[in-house]
Symmetry: C2
Subunit: 316 residues, 2 copies
Amino acid sequence: MTSESAFVDALRGLAVGAEARGLMDDAAVLEVGGRRLVVTKDVIVEGVHYRSDDPPGDVAWKLVAVNLSDLAAKAARPVAGLLGYVLGEEGWDRGFIAGLSICLAELGLPLIGGDTVSVPAGAPRVLSLTAIGEALCAVPSRSGAAPGDILWVSGTVGDAGAGLAMLAGELPPNEALIRRYRAPQPRLEAGIALGHLVSAMMDVSDGLLIDAARIAEASGASLLVELDAIPLSRPFIAALGDKRGARLRAATSGDDYELLFTAPAEVSERVRQLAGDLRLPLTPIGRVASGAGLQVIDRQGEVPLPNELGYQHGRG
Amino acid sequence: MTSESAFVDALRGLAVGAEARGLMDDAAVLEVGGRRLVVTKDVIVEGVHYRSDDPPGDVAWKLVAVNLSDLAAKAARPVAGLLGYVLGEEGWDRGFIAGLSICLAELGLPLIGGDTVSVPAGAPRVLSLTAIGEALCAVPSRSGAAPGDILWVSGTVGDAGAGLAMLAGELPPNEALIRRYRAPQPRLEAGIALGHLVSAMMDVSDGLLIDAARIAEASGASLLVELDAIPLSRPFIAALGDKRGARLRAATSGDDYELLFTAPAEVSERVRQLAGDLRLPLTPIGRVASGAGLQVIDRQGEVPLPNELGYQHGRG
């Protein structure tokens, strides 16, 4: 295999059932006894998905949060989790357990099983979680966006990417942005509340533009993104400004775990009310049109697409 | 943490729901819409759970088989699997996919999702599978063995351990025994058929004696194992004989993935009939008594327990 995407393409040939959603969605959907289970499994690797010097409690948080973000994007409440753990240094393991205890309780995920293994000394940790959730409405996919729908995003974007740049010494540190990188908040309440309103929904894990392109591709439609409408946080603007370059950076950096969704224009008022109820910004940032692909504009006109729309990897 | 078992003990403090079975069983049980889902997740590590020179197709087989063996022990048919894959050398990845394709089809597991990641060069592969099954009867646990019950095992034991010793150059090679190590057969049909007859059931992954001790401990009973009754294969006997030392070796080596179960004496005839129907040996090898712990006897009398009853690790 030449790349992760080639491997995932090969896997797609094996995952032919409807419940697999062609391995194109954030999670699989299993119908059991008239109920809709949503199942997702994310793997995180030391030195790839988290930094070796990240505090172990934060790594536990991130492992749980990225999986629950997938459930949120499918409007599912958490039901059960299974941990795949690689043992390492004793103090680190203890810190992980302490952080895991906190995040399972705060995020409401019952741990029901898993496996713990040792690896040869010096090998990077490979940690995984399987999260099972239940959706009480039809499970949103990436493929339902229809021309005329509005494109929305929750919260603010770019914060986690800025936090990561700070940890890498590329920017002066800001604690709030570093927290967004290390301890993302899965938008569970919002995802569940939005489930019956949206036409398509996913979480922004790899970058807003690349994830928007995935919705466009899955839906057989085009997406117009208004760069100036993308919500930025005050700390982000303080660190990087809000000009075109900064906004493109925000829209192509990953790890925000906000919800990106489309909804018919006639439910926009209900989406706005939900934002108030949830005390979470829900911001219209574009719209769906016929055709294919992604178009980005700002007040100066059309914005040339950057070479990298986000973090490219193969997610099965 | 000083050991895997200490870590798993700490995890047990977090997994307090009934469905987790105290992380003491082969799998968790989730009741959904009146149906019983059995969920298990095993992680295998290059150089620990499989040899770096094992063919990639066999590694795929083993990854799927060890998880389905957990389902078999819980009398569950496979419903869905999620793969956690670490990319590596291109030809190996291709071989893995080819083997995965074969075993998913042969063992009847639909692949519905997962995650594929890259690791730093040279890092060992850490592969995982989450298998979801469904039990149509009450899900057997490890804890139901009652005094008077008969202890049974399926197939033959010791073969995989002998095969591993052959791969390590400690014994002259025998292809049948090496196959048992590399491509274990999960006893799905037997597990499902036995589900309503057994009082306790698990799969022999770490060694017959250590796994029998786990049933005894979970059930609050003692187990008497008749070493001479333990079923050995012809190739095993040809390689190692069938004296006490060879039998102890068979009873303490892991990776056989046979079913170890207890059942009331009054169903023994039905178990024997099942063995004929399944064309799989089901052999009575001991009985359950009151008290605690494990006692091993053979024709010469009581057999001193070896220091290692099997492969000790922490399984969550």
